[in-house]
Amino acid sequence: MVGSDDLNLNRRDLMVGAGACAAMPAMPGTAKAQPGPDGNPVEFQVSLTVNGKSHTRNVDTRTTLLDLLRENLHLTGTKKGCDHGQCGACTVIVDGRRINSCLTLAVMQEGSSVTTIEGLGQPDNLHPMQAAFIKHDGYQCGYCTPGQICSSVAMLEEIKAGIPSHVTADLLAPVQPTETEMRERMSGNICRCGAYSNIVEAITEVVERQG
């Protein structure tokens, strides 16, 4: 994803790291969430814009952006699949870039502009990507779907902006929205129902319509 070239990390290191993370929850004596010195949770005020609407809230500093959206603002379209940045169900668009909202704390989003699935379109006013997912049956149970749709909308913008991926062969030429590029870039969004083949067809249709 965006910014990955800042990290001096190859695929093997990444896999080793992921394996260690996977084993961690089994270890005794992992770090515990710390309340404030008086035993009470530390709260902090945060102001941000969600789907064009301004919100100011006092939030527990441990609250993720995901839980702020779901539990505080009741925007439950953004899903919690793993709470660890492993599945992509919580993907939202923050200041134009897609992120896993479970991996950022709400207090880190002061002044941010967040777009969630509810902001892209509504049942009677669908975003073209939402309509394409319906037409191509790019979902089944629907739980990963908002994340897939937010991710695909932002992913196409990344391609337009010329940001390369692991499968980009020519770093000097404009990046093309090929199926291989899309499959690579969407791989952070897991669909256990296995609608991948249809999702790529849905995104392709949106690309073709955009010309």
């Binding site: 049956d137 149970c141 256990r192």
Partner: protein
């Protein structure tokens, strides 16, 4: 309605709505984030508190003490319920492990406490302040080590797959010894996790002694009975509601700890409680598909005729758990006069093994269909032809019992032609495309069709709207849409005039979602209710119901036609009925069939495997909605690629748990792993199955597909791997020298 004679012609056969590739009616909710899943029902009940479940840190033993004072005094904590202050609770339907209560630990991450607090963060922080004194006991965690002590056990998966501990026809040993061409090999499959995207989640609220659970469950009526049994309360005091279920794959067939602990937490806190199992808890706290060790022996004549076939499978489970019924399909799939199947079960202290998508057939065909590929090679016969030679139209164990409809040969012939199977090089390791070694593989898919009763209620209102109510679930399967299509077809209205309400235990009990029985049975239940509603409408409007035609929002007979809505002008008409089955399925075997084809590339230097093309040709009766049915099949094919190439719960055989218990460590296919997938449904109906003439398709798609991939890897490299998943470390040392 009793279905005990083959279906004749009915309004369903008009195919104005049924059989069309309709977009899902719930699509606009799922794609906009407005479909409510269990944890998201803010509006269901006010004043919800948050629960956090703590799992055991040992796999086997006892808890001597739990130190709660820090947790109790943590900010926001409302209640803590521990396994020590709860007597061991009863078990629900099909639960092998106890979900909660008592000091005994049966498996790692078994639930031992729930903390209820004002916020999620507070409940989580407090849960980590609980200190537990464990007394660990030695356990058995290694299937390979325990397999020699496994006992013969008969089993029924409860999902359409079953076998006696041993089934013998003819004299296998003699025939195998005499066979001119023989194969005797062992195959292993891995422990796998359902890894559905929506974690198990429940909101529980008590109103006096009445309990409501907004939950995520595939089988509402089973769940209602089970939670009542577990909590020791009357079933009529329980209501379950699950209008949307974020995937299940068998992992949500039965009540799990989320529902039990939400209910106990809500009781203790005196407030509604919502909780979800955290992702790292799911693999060990809930169920998984058990690993298997399978031995297959096949003997054949040089012309390819199988004369002897034996399939034995060993798996492990907790006490009261069942074996994986991996040999079931071998009793029905191929001809052969001398046959043997056997199931053995070893005791393991790992988490409970239970149903996962196509239990039995999914791992069974992974093994059998490699064996068939190996046997075809020994015989020098094309693998497609070898299967066709050994096709059977009767139950090989009971030749007087025919298949109701079996066109496996059609699947294979059509598939071979469409895939370009004739371009396959029989000699493995001989096709190069740049750095890739390229191979083709195929396998047969097979899964039984199950008949089970299913009820529904149908309402007609004064606007002519038809509302379907049943406790059927839509777990991604397309239930909303096919039930709406059924009602629209029967009542002669367009799809927009049908509302479907699902997943509420207050509605009539349906077949539920599992074992690929959902679509055929639940639509048949709606069919039955619609037949009654048509009679009520005809009576109200003064028509002879046998002659009345329902079409275009009207009821017609002769030259008289009346708007359908007029029948409800004086008040809503309501009809309820149930489909029940006679013994048609006993008289004839009902199964579904597929030919799976795959092309893979294997990197000549690194052994990285890429699936390049996939095709499934399916024969599964009438396809009610080809669009959503195709999605079921491609999704199952995707999970089959996972089983073939990456999915494996890694067992810590010393400490007794699945180590890779999250979605990074447990690898499932992602976008980059899956190419375009091609699916063809043969145009057929099966009048023996139900008035819908449909059969299941959702699990057929996973059956055999992994073996097609494995056989393609063999064809690409000449390396036969019999130990799933086919990870590159099993190939890399044996790769052919790079040219």
């Amino acid at each position: 309605m009793k279905f005990d004679t083959p279906a004749g012609t009915s309004p369903i056969d008009q195919l104005k709505v049924i059989g069309r590739p309709t977009d899902r009616i719930d699509g606009k909710y799922k794609t906009t984030g407005t479909a409510p899943y269990a944890y998201e029902r803010h509006d269901a009940v006010p004043n919800q508190a948050y629960g956090f479940v703590l799992g055991s840190a040992i796999a086997k033993g006892r808890i001597d003490a739990m130190h709660l004072s820090d947790a109790r005094s943590a900010p926001g904590v409302l209640a803590i319920v521990t396994t020590l202050d709860t007597p061991r609770l009863g078990r629900g339907r099909m639960n092998a492990a106890y979900l909660f209560g008592g000091p005994v630990i049966q498996h790692y991450h078994q639930a031992i406490a729930v903390v209820v607090a004002e916020t999620f963060e507070q409940a989580r922080a407090a849960a980590h302040l609980i200190r537990v004194d464990y007394r660990q006991e030695p356990g058995k965690y290694d299937l390979e080590a325990e397999a020699p002590h496994a006992e013969p056990v008969a089993s029924d998966s409860g999902e359409g797959s079953g076998a006696p501990h041993e089934a013998r026809i003819g004299n296998f040993e003699e025939a195998f010894a005499a066979a001119p061409v023989k194969l005797d090999e062992s195959y292993t499959t891995s422990d796998e996790s359902h890894a559905m995207m929506e974690p198990h989640a429940t909101i529980a609220a008590w109103n006096g002694d009445k309990l409501t659970l907004w939950t995520s469950n595939q089988m509402i009526a089973w769940g209602k009975g089970s939670i009542a049994k577990i909590l020791g309360i009357p079933a009529e005091n329980v209501r379950l509601d699950a209008p949307y279920v974020g995937g299940g794959f068998g992992g949500k067939l039965f009540i799990r700890a989320d529902a039990v602990l939400a209910a106990l937490g809500a009781k203790a806190a005196g407030r509604p409680v919502k909780l979800a199992l955290t992702r790292p808890l799911i693999a060990n706290n809930t169920t998984h598909r058990p690993a298997t060790i399978q031995r297959i022996r096949i003997g054949a004549n040089p012309d390819g005729t199988i004369t002897a076939i034996a399939h034995e499978s060993t798996s492990g489970n907790l006490a009261d758990g069942k074996p994986e019924t991996a040999v079931d399909q071998t009793r029905l799939l191929y001809a052969g006069a001398n046959r043997l199947t056997a199931l053995r079960l070893a005791h393991l202290d790992l988490p409970e093994g239970n149903a996962m998508r196509a239990p039995g057939e999914a791992p069974g065909l992974l093994a059998l269909e490699i064996a068939m590929d190996e046997m075809a090679e020994k015989l020098g016969i094309d693998p497609v032809q070898f299967r066709i030679i050994n096709d059977t139209q009767v139950d090989p164990e009971k030749p007087e019992r025919r298949f109701s409809h079996r066109d496996l040969v059609g699947c294979l012939r059509h598939g071979a032609e469409r895939f370009g199977w004739d371009r396959r090089q029989q000699q493995p390791g001989h096709v190069r495309d740049g750095r890739w070694l390229v191979g083709y593989g195929m396998a047969v898919g097979f899964r039984n069709n199950l008949l089970t009763k299913s009820a529904a209620r149908v309402r007609l209102d004064g606007r002519g709207m038809v509302t379907v109510e049943t406790d059927m679930t839509d777990i991604g399967t397309g239930s909303y849409t096919i039930l709406a299509q059924t009602a629209a077809e029967m009542m002669g209205v367009p799809l927009e005039m049908v509302n479907v309400r699902l997943g509420d235990s207050a509605f009539p009990a349906s077949a539920g979602s599992g074992g690929q029985w959902g679509a055929n049975n639940s639509t048949a239940g709606v069919y039955a209710a619609c037949v009654k509603l048509r009679e009520a409408v005809a009576a109200k409007l003064g028509f002879n119901s046998a002659e009345a035609v329902f079409a275009d929002n009207e009821v017609r007979s002769g030259n008289r036609s009346v708007p359908l809505a007029a029948a409800a002008s004086g008040g809503e008409l309501v009809a309820e009925d149930m489909i029940e089955y006679g013994d048609l399925a006993k008289k004839q075997q009902q199964s579904t069939f597929a030919g799976h084809f795959a092309e893979v590339g294997v990197d000549a230097a690194t052994a990285e495997i890429r699936v390049r093309r996939m095709l499934a040709v399916c024969a599964a009766g009438r396809i009610l909605n080809p669009k959503s049915a195709r999605s079921q099949v491609i999704g199952a094919m995707t999970m089959g690629v996972g089983a073939a190439l990456m999915e494996k719960l890694a067992v810590d055989t010393k400490r007794g748990f699945f180590v890779n218990h999250d979605l990074a460590g447990y690898e499932v296919p992602v976008h980059a792993d899956i190419p375009h997938q091609d699916v063809v449904f043969l145009d057929e109906v099966d009048p023996m199955s139900s008035p819908m003439k449909a059969k299941g398709v959702a699990e057929l798609g996973i059956c055999g597909v992994g073996a097609a991939v494995a056989n393609a890897v063999y064809n690409a490299t000449g390396i036969r791997v019999r130990d799933y998943p086919l990870t590159l470390d099993k190939l890399i040392e044996r790769l052919p020298e790079a040219v």
